[in-house]
Symmetry: C2
DNA sequence: GTCTATACACTGATAGAC
DNA sequence: GTCTATCAGTGTATAGAC
């Protein structure tokens, strides 16, 4: 019954993803995950002996969904402006597809920072590859050429990712405080964000 | 023993703040809060009958620490550029003083958005006062005067708050991924953030 | 592999003495 | 107000039948 096995494991992971992202590690209940997967609680422990093991798998999936692919755009051979455009566009699409992952990962990492170590082992090592340093070299070249105003790669990258992620992660506050809990206004706001963020960032660093 | 009463309640609230912010609502334990406060678990229930009541008090304190005061800067009589400067400066100081509150509030609000309703009742109602709309009118005036490039208040405010909050809320990722877990580099990064964010935002919207 | 039943520990909350 | 003792409920995890 390899077929059933794979189907069950798939169901478990999908259910675990859903419940963990909604309730968090401590708030999630094995019972609820079992119910969501349409299986028995004991079967959950048959596949993943402990809640910790299951959680580790789920947060690993979440992390690897966001980091490996998109961040490599930074290493491609296009100009800084093009990189900003491609990155923001891809990143916002990814966030739209998985809106709960950024907040979930950030929150659980804050509660237990040592998770990051395990995450690094199983994902692409950014530091070793020197991606950020390489991007910074390109950036400073364009600064010297007078294309871009002085800025360092760390600030720029944090700004870009923050501008992309914040409106989603802080959805209750943005929708509640800024848009008086009007869902439509909030959704319309998100739709125009891609264009706006690209404009905002490039407008900030482009030399007059 | 009014003196002792106040002291105990103070100790409880301080301990509850610490534990709830560190572990979250579901992860926090009444026992740990009692231990941190140096009192008995039963005494906790004597002051706050349930965990929910205590949590509500704590998240209310956290919320009211961030919203009422600083956001009113938007309503003062200074120029848009000055508002940005004052707001970012005050906001980053406030975050530095209470680095765990933004992530705590955002996370708990995501898990239980209805908290916001109770929060609104007990804090200044932003929507009714039309603060954002007033700020937008001022903004559009300066746009028409050719001082500022076209931008709406919602995008600008989300950008500013996001740029301030993100590096703190996502500390494990920023410190871990961007700075290879180098604490000193991360702290140095935070120190230069105030100046950078102000520059970045104004540079983006200032008409050439 | 999948189920039912259950063990065992922990947690929030209360009772009652001081 | 503050403590000790304790209960009822819930949670993770396992045993054992099929």
């Amino acid at each position: 019954m390899v077929d059933n096995q794979e189907k069950t494991e798939e169901k478990i992971l999908k259910a675990a993803e859903e419940v963990f992202q909604k309730k968090g590690m401590t708030g999630a209940r094995m019972q609820e995950i079992a119910d969501t997967a349409g299986i028995n609680k004991a079967l959950l422990h048959y596949y993943y002996r402990t809640k910790d093991k299951l959680f580790e798998k789920v947060i690993n999936m979440a992390f690897s969904k966001f980091f490996p692919r998109v961040i490599n755009i930074m290493g491609s051979g296009i100009s800084v402006f093009e990189k900003i455009e491609v990155f923001v566009s891809n990143y916002l699409d990814l966030i739209a597809k998985h809106p709960f992952i950024p907040g979930f990962v950030i929150n659980e990492l804050n509660r237990n920072p040592q998770i990051l170590i395990s995450l690094f082992e199983k994902n692409i090592r950014l530091k070793e590859e020197g991606l950020i340093d390489k991007f910074n070299i390109q950036l400073q070249e364009e600064v010297e050429q007078g294309i871009i105003k002085p800025i360092d790669a760390r600030n720029l990258m944090v700004n870009i990712v923050g501008l992309c992620i914040f409106p989603i992660v802080a959805k209750p506050i943005v929708q509640g405080v800024i848009f008086g809990n009007d869902k439509k206004q909030y959704n319309d706001f998100l739709k125009q964000r891609k264009e706006h963020v690209i404009d905002f960032v490039i407008s900030s660093i482009k030399m007059d």
